[in-house]
């Protein structure tokens, strides 16, 4: 459901703040600094970064540039190692039972239980394969608008934070009221703010 799929789902943002001079150079530097770093061969829990919209394995934009006309097109890639609560519980209980038997004690203290859970989680996390998720975006530089191809609130929060970290610019989700403020001339704004729901029957 991304930018290039046959059926696209997206929300709109307004980009707030002034673009720095020589913006494309600035953007290139910031995108490179915040490009996606692979975690397949280490034990990091999570990695977030920019990749090409055409290929999620291209984080150096060799295949296609992030600039297209007056737009910047990027994919936000989030890879995460997760352990399901069910599996964590199973292996924690197993380890607790092993320790009780090994030490010949009737029960474990609360601190010991927390430590066991933490070390089991770490052990399972190292075995887990990072699961990738990608979200496309298309930023219209002249209009200061951005299409983000996900309606998930979690993804939207991830984008807002990472976009701010990368470009030092804020994003504001364009719900109908805020879109209305952009569309209407200022003389209508007071009337807009006073509108209340009407009954249509």
């Amino acid at each position: 459901m991304g930018l290039l799929s046959s059926s696209a789902t997206f929300v709109r943002y307004a980009v707030e703040g002034e673009l720095p001079p020589n913006f494309l150079d600035f953007a290139a530097e910031r995108i490179a600094a915040n490009a996606y770093r692979d975690i397949d061969d280490n034990y990091e829990e999570r990695s977030v970064g920019w990749v090409s919209v055409l290929n999620m394995f291209d984080s150096s934009f060799e295949y296609a540039s992030f600039a297209a006309g007056d737009h910047i097109v990027l994919t936000l890639r989030v890879d995460e190692r997760t352990v399901s609560p069910k599996i964590l519980k199973k292996f924690t209980m197993k380890e607790e039972a092993r320790l009780l038997k090994e030490r010949q004690i009737p029960k474990l203290s609360r601190t010991q239980k927390i430590e066991i859970k933490e070390s089991v989680k770490l052990m399972l996390m190292k075995k887990a394969v990072p699961s990738p998720t990608t979200y496309d975006l298309c930023w219209n530089l002249s209009e200061g608008t951005l299409l983000f191809f996900s309606t998930s609130q979690k993804a939207q929060t991830e984008l807002e934070d990472f976009f701010k970290k990368t470009f030092d610019l804020s994003l504001r989700l364009q719900i109908p009221y805020l879109t209305a403020e952009h569309l209407l001339k200022p003389e209508y704004h007071d009337a807009l703010s006073r509108l209340t729901p009407d009954i249509l029957i």
């Binding site: 997206f10 719900i175 109908p176 729901p197 009407d198 249509l200 029957i201």
Partner: protein
């Protein structure tokens, strides 16, 4: 007002717009007038979701079917429900878009833009890739601009008490109109 409060308090704005748009399209047999563009074909089809009330009193109905079978949705309007989601088909000249609009957040879902390039034209050179991206972006932005223009027409009526009262009378007559 922060964003969460705005979403809750102004939720009605997108729903009233979508309901108004249905009325506008139905009034002229599936055609709406866009200032600067002229007549555009805009048909409500297949899928509609209507909502009413808040909290425990919240109700929603989902209606599916071809255009002629949206009577259930019309009945929903008569019960005071407002349109929250609808599948729309827009035709401008030789281009056609299908999209689902979610009213309260103005989300664009399952947007199918017109296919303008044949498979054989889709080369792999940097220029061809950029061309393909720009073509897709242009088609999606045309869809959002069309909806924005319609939203602007609605807002100019909605924020003028006299114009809205007249429009409201016509909408109410349309809702009560027998099938």
């Amino acid at each position: 007002m922060d964003l969460v409060d705005l979403i809750v308090e102004k939720r009605f704005l997108g729903q009233e717009f979508l309901t108004w748009l249905w009325y506008k399209s139905d009034e002229r047999g599936g055609t709406v007038f866009l200032p600067g563009t002229g007549d555009t074909q805009l048909v409500f089809e297949k899928h509609m979701l209507l909502e009413y009330g808040e909290g425990e009193a919240f109700e929603k109905i989902i209606c599916q079917g071809l255009q002629a079978e949206l009577n259930e949705a019309r009945t929903g309007l008569r019960m005071g429900k407002k349109l929250e989601q609808a599948r729309i088909h827009i035709i401008q000249g030789e281009y056609e878009w299908h999209m689902t609009l979610k009213a309260s957040l103005l989300e664009f879902r399952s947007v199918k833009p017109p296919k303008t390039m044949a498979g054989s034209e889709e080369g792999a050179t940097a220029e061809a890739v950029e061309g393909r991206l720009l073509d897709r972006i242009g088609m999606l932005e045309t869809a959002t601009r069309t909806i924005d223009e319609l939203f602007r027409v609605f807002l100019e009526i909605r924020t003028s008490p006299a114009a809205w009262q007249e429009e409201l009378d016509r909408i109410r007559k349309w809702i009560r109109k027998p099938e």
